[in-house]
Amino acid sequence: MTHAHFLDPYRPRASLIHALDPRVKFLLAVGFILAAALTPPAAWAAYILLAALALAATVLSELGVGYVLRRSGLALPFVLAAFPVLFTLDGAALLHFRLGPLVLTLSDAGLVRFVSIALKSWLSVQAAIVLAGTTPFPELLLAMRSLRIPRLLVAIIGLMWRYLFVLADEALRLMRARAARSAAAAEPGRRVGGTVAWRARVTGGMAGNLFLRSFDRADRIYNAMAARGYDGEVRMLPIPRVPLGQRVLVGLALAGLALVVLLGYLL
């Protein structure tokens, strides 16, 4: 049986961070990312403090430092988008490259900007990884509701998450069936089974097939919902309040992050 378990990044542990209210974790993660964004370029002291906080959260979460660092590499390819600033910002020249008729000059200001962007991005993604790794998705839905995201949208996202796994299984089966029919196509880099356009068409057919099944499934789910009294209005149980201790924690943590940002401007 094919199962898309790999899609769920939540890793159950008995850590302190796992025990926090999902709303608290969400606010802390977003606060951290906002702090990283607000910190000016080249505020190395502030970056070091933020990195220490991210690492401390990772250790506290017991997700495994290696796991978080490996996953945090995911966002790195996007750094290419910031690559040109190395050569286009004005500043003291560090190096010259000759590319045919083009001369590229690496400036110190460009280097500082580039490294700052890469660091901020890397730190932010760590916060997001710890959040997703320590919070089961249903609890994230709860956090969304208390952030005043319309219940309708929360219900849609909840349903999507539930059927993501079911449909991912279906998509995997479709791809496996395709691989079984075109013997060597699974081998990477080999052009088997016709032209690119033909392969795209086959893939498109699979996508169409997936859509078709989804429409039918939506009908059946609607029946199941209606059978239990669903009338089009989204109703949910009230959410309990965040415990006082954790409220204080959020206040302190956000104040601390604000201090780090301030330090970034001062020093």
């Binding site: 849609i156 349903l159 279906e170 089009g232």
Partner: protein, 320 residues
């Protein structure tokens, strides 16, 4: 393998706070309006339908085909969602997809989510809608017209959304506009072909099996007028931003400098702290060293505490 980062999802750290907040506001407004519209048009079936189709787009993004060597083509989905569901439902579906990608898979940042929602949801859907229905009106109601219109809409949705990404990066001072626009546009002109081919293939399949599904997203009176207005607004925004960003690669920072904001903001603060605390060591180096020491202490303290609590839990587990 399934978690490949698509160059369309902007991670955190690449956009300035001002750009992030502005795009959050625009996206929230568009999504709120779309929710209202969907509520009116689909009624009580909307939750299961939107939810399952969002899951479908998500799963559909896993379907890929090898183009050549290591690269592969796959789906973003804004165009096919727009064609099958109409613009409002498509915006909601893309909102669900892009949000969960950011929250769960770190595909795109959280602060940058507003921008990603705007690019892939609002822009992707609006462009698809424009392109698809304009072409359909020109070419009529034949199957090939649907498939070709779908291809073009999908390609354009990717291409235009990538231009928007480039502009946002430029305005944030992350990438100079002249380079970013050319690079993003160039790469996505290619990626868009994959999107177009898959979209066309999906439409061909649905036309052959369930023709009725393909007509569902057709424009209806007032609905289309709002989308046209939205499209015009986006076009106008891009038209204003593009030259501004190209002329001043540093975007907002340039604006800040011009208004003297940076000087006023930072000048007095610098004066509070003497330039040198220790002879021969610059203030900056000192603060960096200090930060390093504090950081080490935090991490070491936490590591020790976690290690101890783990040992305690382990010994408790044994005694039980």
């Amino acid at each position: 393998m399934f978690l490949s980062v698509q160059p369309m999802h902007i991670p955190d750290g690449f956009l300035s706070v001002a750009v992030s907040v502005l795009l959050w506001l625009l996206s929230v407004a568009a999504i709120a309006y779309a929710l209202q519209r969907v509520n009116r048009e689909l009624g009580e079936r909307q939750v299961p339908l939107m939810g399952v189709l969002a899951a479908c787009i998500f799963a559909g993004q896993m379907l890929n085909f090898s183009v050549t060597g290591g690269t592969s083509g796959h789906l973003m989905g804004a165009a096919i969602a727009t064609i099958l569901l109409g613009p409002w439902a498509a915006i909601i579906v893309m909102t669900a997809v892009v949000s969960v990608q950011a929250l769960i898979f770190q595909d795109g940042g959280l602060l940058a989510l507003g921008a990603n929602l705007f690019n892939m949801g609002v822009i992707g859907v609006t462009v698809s809608y424009f392109a698809y229905h304009t072409l359909r009106r020109l070419t009529g109601d034949k199957p090939w017209s649907i498939i070709v219109s779908g291809f073009v809409a999908a390609w354009l949705s990717i291409f235009i959304a990538s231009l928007a990404v480039a502009l946002q990066l430029a305005v944030s001072g992350t990438s100079p506009a002249n380079v970013a626009v050319a690079a993003m546009g160039g790469v996505h002109a290619l990626i868009g072909i994959g999107e177009g081919l898959i979209t066309a293939g999906a439409l061909a399949f649905l036309l052959a099996t369930r023709r009725d599904l393909v007509g569902a997203g057709a424009p209806r009176g007032e609905s289309s007028r709002t989308v046209w207005l939205g499209g015009l607004a986006i076009a106008a925004l891009l038209a204003v931003l593009a030259p501004l960003a190209s002329a001043h690669p540093d975007g907002l920072e340039w604006v800040a400098e011009q208004s003297g904001f940076l000087d006023r903001a930072q000048g007095p603060l610098y004066n509070i702290i003497p330039d040198y605390l220790l002879p021969g060591v610059s203030n900056e180096a000192l603060s960096t060293i200090l930060a390093g020491i504090i950081g080490l202490l935090i991490v070491a303290g936490v590591t020790l505490a976690v290690g101890q609590s783990r040992r305690r839990r382990a010994s408790e587990g044994e005694t039980k």
